[in-house]
Amino acid sequence: MTLDIIAAEGESNPLLPATYDIVWSALCLIVVFVVVWKFVLPAFNKTLDERSERIQGGIEKAERIQAEADSALAEYQKQLADGRAEAARLRAEAQEEGAQIIAEMKQQATEEAERIAAQAKVQIEAERQAAMVSLRAEVGGLATDLASRIVGESLSDDGRAAGVVDRFIADLEASAPAQTSVASKEV
């Protein structure tokens, strides 16, 4: 069919270009080529470069900000952990100190109590000694009076009197130690 059509119009062979055809084709090509070469491609490349530069810059900025945020977070977390550790340390210290204070107080109280008890013992002993001495003197006196009256013999000589009284008391203590201790307590 196509062949028939081509054959039907024998005068102009479609495969042989007319001069004007070539001329206009070349002109069209040159015009488009110049526009593309001088205007379109430079503008296109420039825009693409600028855009990728901008995107690159944006990415870098975002990365920088992200890194800053990360380091700030790490810093904050570190501070928080430090604070926690500090608080725990203080608490432990306080507890320890408290325990130490309590122990010290106990110690002091114990010592104080012991001291008071010892003092009381000493005082009691002293008082007992005093009582013994005065009792001994009085009892000695009474007994001597009594004895001198009974014996009718004045034991005015002190040396002999003291020897008699001591002996008397020694006898007394030996015969009734229980009575003596009761007596000393009552004094």
Binding site: A8, T19, D21, V36, A43, F44
Partner: protein, 274 residues
């Protein structure tokens, strides 16, 4: 301009011009009478005017795009950038690599857009004629590619080096060269530009004839033929619609193939080894 709109009829006129019979599409449509400068090298006829119109529209579109190009693109800029990237990356860089593609980018971009826009005129109502439907434009473009790839090869390797790499296939037994060198020579120096021209030209011309055939047949069957034949008109109009859709594809595809083959030829001329 007035001529273009005043002469939409050439296509349909050929069909409905005389009511009596079927008027087959003819080659005369590709060689309409001259409008201006008849007989000179600048003779203008309808096809040439359509071609010039396509180029004007293309240049205006490209200029508007290039002038208003911004960092943050408008819709128009975005879609143009998409097409542009298809050509620069999808066709040129993928075939030749980045450094080579940069050198020949203006040519490749020009080829793609010029072929696309002059093809597409055959689908536009009242133009209905491909600017590439007469052989001049495909031939000129193919010759430019032909000269470019030989020149690129010579520039890259020197005359001897280029001829050696173009004609002598490496790794072939010496005897085979008797056969292969003439074949390579024919391919590179005769067949490649010839097929490049004919592929585009024939596709456009035949597609146009097919469209005209379908629609003039429809017109004849519906308005002039016997009543019994009228339903056939529905078949031909459906066929015409299908061919129209197919032609949209072919218009884009031929522009793509032309630019792609230009890249492939240039690349094989400058490439180190095959």
């Amino acid at each position: 301009m007035g001529i273009l709109t005043a002469a939409p009829g050439t296509l349909l006129a050929s069909a409905s011009h005389d009511e009596g019979g079927f008027h087959a599409p003819s080659m005369a449509e590709f060689f309409p009478p001259a409008v201006l400068f008849e007989g000179t090298a600048f003779e203008l006829n309808r096809v040439m005017l359509i071609r010039i119109l396509a180029v004007v529209v293309l240049v205006v579109l490209l200029a508007l795009w290039a002038k208003r190009m911004k960092l943050i693109p408008s819709r128009f800029q975005s879609s143009m950038e998409m097409v542009m990237e298809f050509v620069t990356v999808g066709i040129a860089e993928n075939t030749m690599g980045k450094t080579n593609a940069k050198k020949y980018m203006p040519l490749i971009v020009t080829l793609f857009f010029l072929v696309l826009f002059t093809n597409i005129t055959k689908l536009i109502p009242f133009l209905n004629m491909p600017g590439t439907g007469v052989i001049g434009l495909p031939l000129v473009l193919a010759l430019v590619v032909y000269v470019t790839y030989h020149w690129a090869g010579v520039r890259e390797k020197g005359v001897g080096g280029y001829l050696k790499s173009a004609l002598i296939l490496p790794g072939v037994p010496p005897v085979m060269h008797v056969l292969l060198i003439p074949i390579e020579f024919l391919t590179k120096f005769v067949i490649q530009p010839f097929t490049l021209t004919l592929r585009l030209f024939a596709n456009m011309m035949v597609g146009h004839l097919l469209l005209v055939l379908c629609f003039s047949a429809t017109s004849f069957l519906l308005f002039s033929a016997d009543f019994a034949l009228k339903p056939l008109g529905l078949v031909t109009i459906a066929g015409g619609f299908f061919v129209y859709l197919l032609e949209i594809l072919i218009c884009v595809l031929q522009a793509y193939i032309f630019a792609l083959l230009a890249c492939v030829y240039i690349d094989s001329a400058v490439a180190e080894e095959h």
